[in-house]
């Protein structure tokens, strides 16, 4: 460990473009999801088998969640929300497989929240018209304009750092725990860090599975709520 908890630099392309561990793990996740999607929709029968059932439940619940949260008229957002949910979910859980979660990088979470930010404002202008959109900043009173602007800008930042903080917090705790368990093992005179087996599993379940899936759900839900609120 050469200090810090940041992602490794994998390769530096000419022109100073750095490709970090975050990006390579993301590529892996993309590959995984693409393969899953390919096989999920490859052979679809009228009478579904087990795998098809799982895929149908997944897609249906994403559509149902979108419909429930955003309304019937905004069902077209479902694929994007599904992508967010699947990507953030798999990314958060990837810590279980010894990968560094891409969501433990502020670049990923800020990238996602900036996309949400742009979608919110684009759709707000599109459905309310530029005039009403501008007027929205003067409500309920015109002198609240700076507060409204700060509020709007705070949304993507809070969204990004909520996810980032949760995941990176878990990551740091896990790294520290592994380190601590390793050094306890050595100080007990055991060559192999035997305490590292088993004890971290409980925390893995909490930080990677529970908090990870919960945070992916929260991020997706908030994105849906922001967009539908901006459109109504």
């Amino acid at each position: 460990m050469n200090g810090g908890f940041g992602p490794y630099k994998v390769i530096e392309l000419p022109g100073g473009i750095v490709i970090s561990q975050t990006v390579t793990v993301t590529w892996l996740i993309m590959l995984l999801l693409t393969v899953f999607a390919y096989f999920a929709s490859k052979k679809f029968n009228k009478v579904p088998d087990k795998f098809q059932n799982v895929v149908e439940i997944l897609v249906e619940s994403i559509y149902g969640l979108t419909k429930q949260t955003m309304g019937e008229d905004k069902i077209n957002f479902a694929p994007y929300m599904g992508t967010l949910l699947l990507f953030i979910g798999v990314a958060n859980v990837s810590g279980l497989f010894g990968l560094r979660p891409p969501t433990a990088d502020v670049n990923t979470t800020l990238g996602l929240s900036i996309m949400t930010f742009f979608m919110v404002h684009y759709n707000s202008i599109k459905s309310n018209g530029i005039k009403n959109y501008m007027k929205g900043y003067l409500e309920p009173m015109p002198f609240l304009l700076p507060l409204n602007i700060i509020g709007e800008l705070a949304n993507p930042i809070s969204l990004a750092f909520r996810l980032f903080g949760n995941i990176v917090g878990g990551l740091i705790i896990m790294v520290l725990l592994y380190g601590a368990l390793g050094s306890i093992s050595t100080s007990l005179g055991i060559g192999i860090p035997i305490l590292q087996a088993g004890i971290p599993a409980v925390l893995h379940i909490y930080f990677d599975l529970f908090a990870g899936l919960l945070q992916s759900f929260i991020f997706t839900m908030l994105t849906m709520v922001f967009i539908s609120m901006a459109m109504d």
Partner: protein
């Protein structure tokens, strides 16, 4: 993977990479997963809905036909009963007509027979009266010889016989 670590909270090129990655992943998943699966499920839903609706429609139609047929059967049963009733009534009327006619005829026949009998009786009585009158005349003329005027005495005798015979020949 030992190497240079980047800062924990540091904005760098990854930001743009991750946005691009997310958009690419979105397009892939939309094309490969969400669109086909949701379209498929929507199609299947519509199909099932269609067949359920069709079945319901057929049920309604069958119900309609059933009640129609039941009504028809009931109507024809009623008609049959009506026909039988009519026939029975007609037969009854006809029977009573026949009986009445027969009774009337019988009465007529009896009346005619009575009349005939009466006539015959009268004829016989008259014949007998004539016979007795002539016999009496004959006997009387024999007794009184030529003294009697047959024309006068005939009526006299006849009158007598009539008076006597009225009680004697009545029965």
């Amino acid at each position: 993977m030992e190497g240079i670590k980047l800062g924990l909270v540091e904005l760098n090129w990854s930001f743009f990479f991750q946005i691009a990655n997310t958009i690419i992943l979105f397009l892939i998943l939309k094309k490969l997963l969400f669109k086909p699966v949701s379209e498929f499920m929507e199609k299947r839903r519509a199909e099932i809905e269609g067949s359920i609706k069709e079945a319901e429609m057929k049920n309604v139609e069958a119900e309609k036909y059933k009640s129609e047929y039941i009504a028809k059967i009931e109507a024809s049963e009623e008609e049959g009963r009506q026909i039988i009733r009519d026939a029975a009534k007609r037969a009854e009327v006809r029977a009573s007509e026949i009986i009445k006619a027969a009774e009337k005829e019988a009465i007529e026949i009896k009346q005619r027979a009575d009349l005939d009998i009466q006539r015959e009786k009268e004829k016989a009585i008259n014949l007998l009266k004539d016979d007795i009158a002539s016999i009496a005349m004959l006997v009387a003329s024999k007794v009184v010889e030529e003294d009697l005027n047959p024309q006068r005495h005939n009526t006299l005798v006849r009158k007598f016989i009539d008076e006597v015979g009225e009680t004697r020949w009545q029965s």
